[in-house]
């Protein structure tokens, strides 16, 4: 007979066995037995957030930057509902989270008890899986399974709802990690990649005169090895490559074969190349609507190949000619070894074949679609990001963002050369993500520079987490591109709603410098381009949390931009062009 442990002890035993370092949480009545047990487990550090959404995003930041699952602990009712946004965010971007929530005692479930809510019901559509544990004898098994589900195949969030009485009850702790026998988001659905299929792909690559790699977050999720292999493959082939927002950093942003990000605010060359290519090799991306634009006219003349670990991603939005259900690193390993053995000096031999394609791409590049008119009197937001990049690129810098124009400018102008350095809410587009995420990133990477490139509206949504940063001495830098507007909303209103700036101006903004001081950290304000460098350097040099209030041009728009309902080759490049374009059909924008 094994020694019996309380439910709360079992929770910590499982966390220890899964080498959990940090738990991001917030206490309450229904999780008190677990909090009571915390003191007995020194290897696990609890990070007290100021709101459960903050705890969730912090866990995401930790997971996104380290590749390890983030662990969240919340109480029942409002604790659980507050964490839902973070779970949905992690679900959309395939981030592994294990969320433990307290629940009212079993006998009270369904009685509208104090702080009761149907947590598994509410979170079912935004988790990979969830469990209500009604018997302490099942607890250990479910905890192990939860970690496995969260991290295997296509990663994602899971939730375990534990009633208070189950936390007290005694049950066995089993260590044998249950293996899931069924197809788990692709982990078991993985196919054995046949040489025949690989050869088919290699044949397509050899025939193509206008190829492109289109890569996404799947490469980052697959781990650092996948990024390395991707670099090797791109070098071996000489093909151009573009990346989604989520995939930035998997391939070096400063490499000459990289065309920049694609999609709604992607570069002219990337989007045009996607439109005109004859072979598109999608590795770990999901043909999201922000990428494809008008589906009927998406890359009309190309053969499409899709590599994804999740079988339900294949054929969902776009029909493809060849597909592989596989983890990226396994796929790339097979492809590269076969490619190398059969095609010596491919780049040289194939040069003639794709020379014209590169010429065309270089013509598109000449448009300089990320260009902007700089100013001497007012800080242009793009310039601010460029300066931040130049002054931090030689350090190991981790960037998080909020959601809006600043997020797109960060993606366009900050160049990432390594994976896991760029943490942004892509799928759900959650304002308030960046600040708490930075906390999680900083915990995973002590001593490294972590900057949240923020908008003043977004950052106010989770500003309370500054207090968390202070408490744990996490020197995160909140770099606010302050335009006093919900800039992205204002931009759409300008272009599509006859400049009716309905509720997109934030009156009564706080004084961010004083706010920083009130939290006990450092506030810096930059108002002129001439002082920007010096102030950024000051920010970097301070080993405490900083809120940097960068006052930028209030009316700047983010270009280029593909109005939705438009194909890739019809972008708006800048303010001169948009007048004529947008007054025509370009007004339908998602």
């Amino acid at each position: 007979m094994p020694k019996l442990l309380s439910g709360a002890e079992i929770v910590f035993k499982a966390l220890e066995d899964h080498n959990v370092e940090y738990v991001f949480g917030y206490p309450g009545g229904a999780v008190l037995p677990i909090y009571d047990e915390l003191k007995n487990h020194k290897s696990i550090k609890h990070i007290l957030a100021r709101h459960e959404q903050g705890a969730g995003h912090a866990a995401e930041g930790y997971a996104r930057s380290s590749g390890k699952p983030g662990v969240v602990l919340v109480t029942s009712g409002p604790g659980a509902t507050n964490v839902v946004t973070a779970l949905a965010d992690a679900y959309m971007d395939s981030i592994p989270l294990v969320c433990i929530s307290g629940q009212v005692p079993t006998h009270l479930i369904g009685t509208d008890a104090f702080q009761e809510c149907d947590t598994t019901g509410i979170t079912r559509p935004c988790t990979k899986y969830n469990w209500l544990v009604k018997d302490v004898n099942d607890l250990a098994k479910i905890l192990h399974l939860a970690f496995e589900v969260a991290t295997s195949g296509r990663p994602g969030p899971v939730l375990i709802d534990i009633p208070k009485d189950v936390q007290f009850k005694k049950g066995p702790y089993t260590v044998n990690k249950t293996k899931v026998s069924k197809s788990l988001n692709g982990s078991k659905a993985k196919e054995n990649i046949s040489d025949k299929k690989i050869d088919q792909l290699i044949e397509m690559m050899k025939k193509s005169s206008r190829p492109i790699f289109y890569t996404g977050g799947g490469i980052i999720n697959s781990g650092p090895k996948a990024s390395k292999l991707l670099r090797e493959l791109v070098a071996l082939t000489g093909f151009p490559i573009t990346s989604t927002l989520q995939g930035l950093g998997a391939f070096p942003g400063s490499d000459s074969q990289f065309l920049g990000m694609l999609g709604m605010h992607g570069t002219y060359e990337a989007n045009n190349a996607m439109h005109d290519c004859d072979l598109m090799i999608n590795i770990g991306a999901r043909f999201d609507d922000r990428i494809t634009g008008k589906l009927d006219e998406f890359s009309p003349n190309s053969k499409k190949v899709h590599i994804d670990i999740d079988p339900s991603s294949i054929g969902k939005n776009v029909k493809v000619d060849l597909s592989f259900v596989s983890d990226v690193d396994i796929f790339l390993t097979s492809l590269i070894s076969r490619f190398k053995s059969k095609n010596k000096n491919f780049v040289d031999i194939n040069k003639n074949k794709i020379d014209k394609w590169w010429d065309q791409i270089n013509k598109w590049r000449k448009k300089d679609s990320l260009g902007f008119k700089n100013s001497n009197s007012v800080i242009k937001p793009q310039y601010a990001v460029q300066r931040l990049y130049e002054l931090t690129k030689n350090k190991e810098t981790y960037i998080t963002t909020e959601v809006g124009q600043h997020q797109m400018w960060a993606a366009q102008h900050y160049k990432f050369d390594e994976p896991n350095r760029w943490m942004t809410s892509g799928g759900l587009g959650t304002m308030g993500f960046g600040l708490p995420a930075a906390i999680g990133v900083q915990l995973a990477h002590p001593g490294k520079l972590v900057v949240d490139i923020a908008g003043e509206a977004s950052v106010l949504m989770t500003m309370q987490e500054m207090s968390t940063a202070i408490q744990y001495k996490l020197p995160i830098k909140i770099f606010i591109l302050n335009n006093e507007y919900m800039g992205m909303v204002r931009q759409w209103q300008e272009l599509l709603h006859d400049k009716n700036y309905s509720e997109s101006y934030t009156a009564a903004l706080p004084d961010f410098v004083k706010l920083a001081e009130a939290y006990g950290c450092v506030g810096i304000r930059a108002t002129k381009p001439s002082e920007l460098d010096e102030k950024i350097k000051e920010m970097i040099s301070i080993n405490r949390p900083v809120i940097f209030d960068c006052l930028v041009d209030k009316m700047e728009n983010c270009y280029p931009m593909i109005p939705s309902g438009k194909p890739h080759n019809q972008m708006i490049l800048g303010p001169e062009e948009d007048k004529e374009e947008v007054s025509a059909e370009g007004k339908i924008l998602v």
């Binding site: 788990l184 008008k294 079988p311 309902g565």
Partner: protein, 182 residues
């Protein structure tokens, strides 16, 4: 209201919605049905019928048969999503027109009417394996098994003859021949 210039994308070509039968083998656990059904409701799809029961007591396996109307793309997506759930063992997807699949639905029908009308009902039900389950002076309960559309038609025919209540199971499905779906 003036026509808005904003703010949604137009759907591209949409295929025609069709009837699909989805059979799902699941662990018989709390919440599993909600999980399966949620994939339909979350996409705004209506379920025409649903039949669930445990089919293997030892392994706690239930078999769910769902009839739904949707575009082939969305139904295919639901099938793949179902396949990823850890509570799901296997998923089969059939078109209603598939010759290789047997479909049956059971209905209980209560009639309260004159002897003459009762006879008419019994006659109409005869070709659907009818069984009388209960009888009283003016009423009876009759059981029929047939295809869904046959029962639809039958109900239309007998409604004027004193039909006062009807209960239907929804379709269940099975492949013909010795094979089972893997």
């Amino acid at each position: 209201m003036p026509k808005s210039k904003s703010a949604y994308s137009e759907p591209s070509k949409v295929s025609k919605p069709e009837h699909h039968i989805i059979v799902v083998w699941v662990d018989n656990e709390a919440g599993v049905l909600a999980r399966v059904i949620g994939l339909f409701s979350g996409r705004g799809y209506n379920i025409e019928s649903l039949a669930v029961a445990e089919v293997d007591k030892q392994k706690h396996l239930s078999r769910i048969t769902i009839v739904s109307v949707g575009t082939p793309e969305v139904i295919q997506q639901i099938k793949l999503q179902l396949g990823k759930q850890i509570c799901v063992h296997k998923v089969a997807l059939f078109k209603r027109s598939d010759e290789n699949i047997l479909f049956r639905e059971l209905a209980l029908i209560k009639i309260n009417s004159s002897k003459k009308n009762q006879e008419k009902v019994k006659k109409a039900c005869k070709k659907y394996n009818s069984v009388i389950l209960d009888k009283s002076k003016n009423s009876f309960v009759i059981q029929v098994t047939a295809l869904r559309r046959e029962i639809d038609k039958l109900v239309q025919t007998i409604r004027p003859y004193g039909l006062i209540s009807i209960s239907r199971t929804g379709a269940v499905a099975m492949t013909r021949g010795p094979e089972v779906f893997k």
